[in-house]
Symmetry: C2
Subunit: 129 residues, 2 copies
C-alpha cells in the first residue's frame, strides 16, 4: 500500500474548508481549532504565520491581527485523509479570545463541568470594542 504525499489538504472534497488544530510546539498543549480555506493554508505555508478562515466574519483571519497574539508556525502536518491540518506553533500570549492560553479550558465530567485552566490576560484589555 503506497502513501500519497499531497502538497495541501483536499479542500474540494472537504467543501472548501478543513479543520486546523493548533498545538503548542514547546509543551504539546492543544490551543485551539479553527478552519482554513486554500488561501489561508497557502498564506500560512508561505509566511510561517497562522492564518485561518473566519466562518463568522467570512474572511481570512490572520491570528493575532487584533490581539497581537500571533502564532509562529514551526510545522504543518496533515492527516491520513488529507482533510485536517495540525499546526505546531509558538503561541504569543493567549490563543483564546476569553484570555486563556488554550481554548480548551473547561472539562466536562459526568457530574459537572469545571474550569481547569487559569486566565492569562483580561480579554477587555486585549480586544478594544
Amino acid at each position: 500500500m503506497s502513501i500519497s504525499l499531497p502538497r495541501e489538504p483536499d479542500f474540494d472534497k472537504a467543501g472548501g474548508l478543513v479543520p486546523a488544530i493548533a498545538q503548542d510546539a514547546a509543551n504539546g498543549q492543544v490551543l485551539m481549532m479553527a478552519w482554513m480555506n486554500r488561501e489561508a493554508f497557502q498564506e500560512t505555508l508561505a509566511t510561517g504565520r497562522a492564518v485561518y478562515f473566519s466562518r463568522s466574519r467570512n474572511k481570512l483571519w490572520r491570528k493575532g491581527e487584533e490581539s497581537g497574539h500571533q502564532q509562529q508556525v514551526r510545522q504543518i502536518l496533515i492527516d491520513c485523509d488529507a482533510d485536517t491540518v495540525l499546526l505546531q506553533v509558538e503561541q504569543k500570549g493567549a490563543a483564546c479570545h476569553e484570555g486563556y492560553r488554550t481554548c480548551f479550558f473547561r472539562e466536562v465530567g459526568t457530574d459537572e463541568t469545571k474550569i481547569v485552566e487559569s486566565r492569562l490576560v483580561d480579554p477587555s484589555d486585549v480586544y478594544k470594542k
Copy 2:
C-alpha cells in the same frame, strides 16, 4: 465576564456534529480528529471509551470495534465556543487506519511533503476485508 459551564457541546449550533480531537494523555501527541453527534458524545462520557460518528458510514463508530485499537478516555475538554471537543486518551495500538500511531504522519513544507512517523502495524493485519 462570566464563563458558562455547559454540560455538552452545542450540537444544535454546530448542525449536529462537532469536531473531536484525540490527544495521547501520556505524551501529548495529537492522534486524530473525528466527529461526534450528541449520542456519540454521551456514550463517550458514560462509558469512558471514545465513540465518534462516522460521516461516511452514517452511524456511531466505537473506536477500535474492528481494529481493537480502542481509546480509553481520561479527560473530556470543550473549547470556548462549545463547538469542539478535546479528548485526552490512552490509545491502544495505532489510532490511524494506515497503521501509524497518529493520523498526522505527513509534514507539508514549502518544497515537499514527507512522512515523519513510522508505521506501528500493517493495516492489512488489522482490517480484514
